[in-house]
Each structure stands twice: as structure tokens, then as C-alpha cells.
Assembly symmetry: C2
Homo-oligomer: 354 residues x 2
């Protein structure tokens, strides 16, 4: 077995702390990666604290991973030693069902294997994520990071990037479209950048007056205070698509009425308690649709990375040493980050020597 | 002005009673129709009792109208005296907006003119519906009734028929599809017949064990008791489309989970109080969609009537004299009708002579 060190939680009420654990040795189809950077996603916190009720401890979070290939199995053809690569939210799937066959591993009928807190299918137990020195992943789930992107700032593309890119692509956002992005956080700021690069006219909706300027800087054409009735009314029946990134329960109707006939609002955040029930009349009277979307498939994640490479898109990040992860969790809860924490895994070195 | 008699409500708490009123004389583009039959829709009751809060009294309900043309204006080319014709939920629209231009008058950006309780655009006041001796309608909103259909049983096609046909067409239901119809009432029974004729495998979901047999007789391939967990579980992730006709607030999640990935449940009933809020996870984890749909456009209504003519589809009806309309409203509230009341307007004759 392969020795690994990282930061994880031993129980729901415990802070993350240094832990040593083992991973499988790379098999014939596997790639071993030394992790350089790992983004901090809200799911990491939910899972560390068992807020979704399904955490198996100990858990090592992290699914926005960028690193360097150090070893490859005998059958590996897509990666070689020294490559700069990424790993996102999935490290395996059944590879046989209809969804996997269509390249939609995120909707695997048998359930994909999460990068952490998933069932390790080779040696048993659970998978451990990217708040760690290294990781071993089937080559099919290893992504190429474009050379021209800052590797640290590219890490959040692996979850925040694909979670916003995939629905924008699926609902065919492009030139001539007026697209709403609801919420300016880790997901929302990527949504602005990507929708803008796709050629859309981007309108950012926020409850924080202070974020309007930032939205414009990030590429939004307009920024709207969603608590202001007259600002909102000006956009009624005008949007071609809305990407709603807000996980906190909120009034969906305020946004549904901004859609044109036959258009869709897609939710990518799942609230812990339900949103107020949306009004059926707002769906019926304009044949509007409310949808959801989950990350993206592996081929689409590569397409997203290449797209970001072409357009020079990365996340706005604040780099932290791993020893600051618990502070980062608290700050994330207060939305006190612009717009994603990324752990510099070099900071693990001093723990390694202890 | 044209004399008309019919049954209407003078106030929200009053039963429907005979009333005399006036309509505009047919203009150059208008068709005058002697009404033979009029279906009884739940909207008639909602409006008569001001349950949507927008009723202007007196109101004469009725928007499932079949009748005979008695007079046409100078510019009318589509109808001639003696034609058997229908009028549905709309008698006019702006004819200029994007939706009207696309033949989607039901989504007219300026609001279509309802067959009753709508703004009469020629002589002012409100429109009066089909619980009446005659009606005057712009020829564009007059439909041809296929010769081979029983005219009384065809009347409910004008609302119940198009309300179910339009979403089944829009979401491309056809051969090889497994389609769920939720609720077996006026809308649901039309949904079964039309989806079956479109070639789909139809599954009817009902809370009434007693309706299962009827569903199969009407053309459903399967009938499922939606309160039975194991019957429901057998259909998880298997449906290509769900048409939900139930207007009473109910748990939408029980049906959302029956949809395959990327599929849609469309609501055609609007509850007076909201449904319990649907779980966002059921949307996200399979990229499912919740939508709404409103009646259908005029061209599509004609397409529906022609389709029903080809397939010999009409509504299952119980004919009543107009003097029984208040009883019929009460029975409709108890779902005590299989599956649509239709008023035989010949019953108005004795009132006429009084």
C-alpha cells in the first residue's frame, strides 16, 4: 500500500487535523499523482461535518486537485510521468451503464465513486480526497491541465468550473443570449467568466450591493441587486437561461419570472432545507422549466479545461497553507473569500518531516 | 347588439342562473355561432366563484364550445354558414407579438382574450362564454370539428384535449416512450387517450384504487396506485415524460424520481395553495426538469382536433341540461363525473320562450 499524509476529520465535531493513511498501489490502469494544489469546496465542509448524513470517518476531503504524475500503470496511455494533471469530483464509475456510455459518468446509474467518502472499489474501505500528499486514480478520470493556466488557480475548475460550464453548455448558452447568474460565490464567479467567454450577455444577481462592482470586473455586463424590486422588474421575461448557484433556501419565483417563454432556470446548489415552493403559475403561463445539474462528465470536464485554456480562464483564489484549513472553513461560511481557497500542498512538507 | 341568453353568476356566492345579455354584432372578420354543446371545465367553477380573485360579474362561463355557424362577416374565408365549429379558451390575442407570430397565442405577450371574463376588445366590457345560446368570435379563433366525431363528446377537446395534447407534442412523446399520466379526471382521461394514440406506453397514476380498471379501459397499459410504495418503486428512473394533471397540492417528488435522467414532468394543473416544495436533489442528480404548460395555440388546437378525428378520440361525457349546472359543479368538486359534463344547449330553449 501507498503511504499518504493529509488533513482529515476523525468525527463530525472535530476540526480537520493531520492524518496518515494508505491508498492502493497504482494498478495497470492507474496514475499516481503528487498533489500540488487542492481547492476548497463547500461540499468538503458539508462532508467533514456530516451535514448530509452520509460521512464515513475518518474522511479526507478535497476534489479540486491539481498535481504532477509520478508513476503510471502498465496499460496507461493517456498520462505519463511529469504531466500536470487534474482530478475532480469522481475517481471511478461503472463504465457500463447508459449514462457512462454517453460520457455522463456523473449520472452513472450505479453511482459514481466520489473522490472522497466514496467506496474504494479495489482495496475496500473509503476513498480519500485531495487534502493530501498524493492520490491514485484510474487514468480515465485524470484530466490534462492546459500549460498556460496557473496550476493553483486552475484547481477550482475541477469542481466549480465544470459545475457551471456543464449546464451552460447543455442549455446551449452562446452569442445573442442574455444569461442570468444567481449568486456571486465560488460557483457564481466561475459562471460569470465562462458565460461571458461563451459570448453571452451576462447579468449577475446578488443580495450584496458590495458585490456588484466585482461582478462587472469578473465579466458580467450587468449586476442586479435581487432585493431591489424595480431593478428586478426591469429584467422580467427577458432572460434566455438562468444558472442559479445559491444553495441557501430562497424565493425561486423572483428569478423564474425573469425568464422568457420556454426557458430554463437550472439549480446547481442543493439547500439543506427546501426552498419555498415555487409558484406553478410561473411555470404554466410561459411554459418555463426548473431544472438541476450535477458537475459534468469526464470528456466534458476536459472540454471545459481546454475552453478555459483557450480563454485564459481560472478561478480568483486565495492561497492558504493546509494548517489554515479550519479557519478557511469558518471564513467560507461567512462568504469571506474571493472566490475560492486553494491549499498549497507544499505546506504539508513540514508535517511530513515531523 | 346581438341578444344572447345563458347561465351565469351575478356574484361569487350566487348559484348560476339564467341571464340575458348582449354580444357585439359580427364584424367583417367575425363568425356568429349557435352553440350546441359546451363542456364544463373546473376553471368555469373557479371563475364563477372568484377563486382566482379576478372575476368581473356578471360572468357567463364555458370555453369548450361546439356549435353551428349561422353568420359570417364579409372578410371571413375559413368558415361558412352551417359549418360545425369549436371555440376553446381564447377568442382573441394581439396577433403581433413574438408568441402570436409563432402560433403560440396562449402565451401572447400582451395577454390573450379569454372566452369569458376577458376584456372584450370591440365593444368594451367583458367577454361572455359558452353556457349560452350563441357567441361571436374572430374567425382565426374558430376551429373545425371533424365530421366523424360526436359533436357533444368533442366539446371537451377544446380545453381538456388541447391542454394534454400540447405538452405531449411539445415534449415529443411517441413510440418507444413510457409516459406517465398523473390523475384520472377530465384532463387525465384525455391524456391517456392521446398519449396512447401517439404510440406511447402509458402508465396512469391515481390515488383511487377504483380508477385503475377504468384507466386500462381508456387505453393505459398500466395503472399504478400512487399511494403504494412498492408499486411506485417499480417505476423509478423509468419514465420518459410525465404529464401531471392534478391541481390539488401533492408531493411532486414521488413522481420526479420516476423520471429517467434528462426527462421532464410537466404540470398542467395550478393548485390554489402551493405543492410541498420539490426536493432539489431529485432535479440535480438526474438533470431532471419540472415544467408547466398552458392549453395550446390555435394551429395546434386544430392539429389536435384533426388528430382526434383520425384516431376517433373524444371525451367520455355525461350530458346535462343547463338547468343542472349547479349540481354538476358540486359533483365535479367530488370528482363524481366520468369524465366531463357537457351541457346540451337545446335545454336553453324552454328558458328562451319564458
Amino acid at each position: 500500500m501507498l503511504e499518504s499524509i493529509g488533513y482529515g476529520a476523525a468525527a463530525s465535531h472535530e476540526p480537520l487535523d493531520m492524518m496518515r493513511f494508505k491508498r492502493r498501489e497504482p494498478g495497470a490502469d492507474d496514475v499516481q499523482i503528487d498533489i500540488l494544489y487542492c481547492g476548497v469546496c463547500h461540499s468538503d465542509l458539508h462532508t467533514a461535518r456530516n451535514e448530509w448524513g452520509n460521512t464515513v470517518y475518518p474522511v479526507v476531503p478535497g476534489h479540486e486537485i491539481v498535481g504532477r504524475v509520478t508513476r503510471v500503470g502498465a496499460h496507461v496511455s493517456r498520462s505519463k510521468q511529469g504531466d500536470l494533471v487534474g482530478v475532480g469530483c469522481m475517481v471511478d464509475s461503472c463504465q457500463r451503464c447508459a449514462s457512462c456510455s454517453e460520457g455522463l459518468e456523473q449520472y452513472c446509474e450505479n453511482g459514481f465513486v466520489g473522490t472522497y467518502n466514496g467506496e474504494e472499489m479495489h482495496v475496500g474501505g473509503m476513498t480519500f480526497g485531495g487534502y493530501a500528499s498524493n492520490i491514485v486514480v484510474n487514468e480515465k478520470f485524470v484530466l490534462r491541465i492546459p500549460d498556460n493556466l496557473d496550476p493553483a488557480a486552475a484547481a477550482p475548475l475541477l469542481c466549480a468550473g465544470i459545475t457551471t460550464f456543464s449546464p451552460l453548455r447543455h442549455w446551449k448558452v452562446g452569442k445573442g443570449h442574455k444569461v442570468g447568474i444567481v449568486g456571486l460565490g465560488g460557483l457564481g464567479h466561475m459562471g460569470i467568466k465562462i458565460a461571458h467567454a461563451m459570448g453571452a450577455h451576462v447579468v449577475l444577481f446578488t443580495t450584496s450591493k458590495g458585490k456588484k462592482e466585482d461582478a462587472l470586473r469578473l465579466g458580467a455586463d450587468e449586476a442586479v441587486l435581487s432585493t431591489d424590486r424595480s431593478e428586478m422588474a426591469a429584467h422580467e421575461n427577458s432572460l434566455d437561461f438562468i444558472l442559479n448557484t445559491v444553495a441557501a433556501p430562497h424565493n425561486l419565483d423572483a428569478f423564474m419570472v425573469l425568464l422568457k417563454r420556454d426557458r430554463t432556470m437550472t439549480l446547481v446548489g442543493a439547500p439543506a432545507s427546501p426552498h419555498p415552493s415555487p409558484q406553478v403559475f410561473n411555470l404554466i403561463l410561459k411554459r418555463r422549466q426548473l431544472a438541476g445539474s450535477l458537475i459534468g462528465g469526464i470528456a466534458e470536464t476536459q472540454e471545459m479545461l481546454d475552453f478555459c485554456g483557450e480563454h485564459g480562464i481560472v478561478s480568483d483564489i486565495e492561497m492558504i497553507p493546509i494548517q489554515k484549513i479550519n479557519d478557511a472553513f469558518e471564513r467560507m461560511l461567512k462568504s469571506d473569500v474571493k472566490y475560492r481557497f486553494v491549499i498549497d500542498m507544499a505546506s504539508l512538507a513540514k508535517e511530513r518531516s515531523e
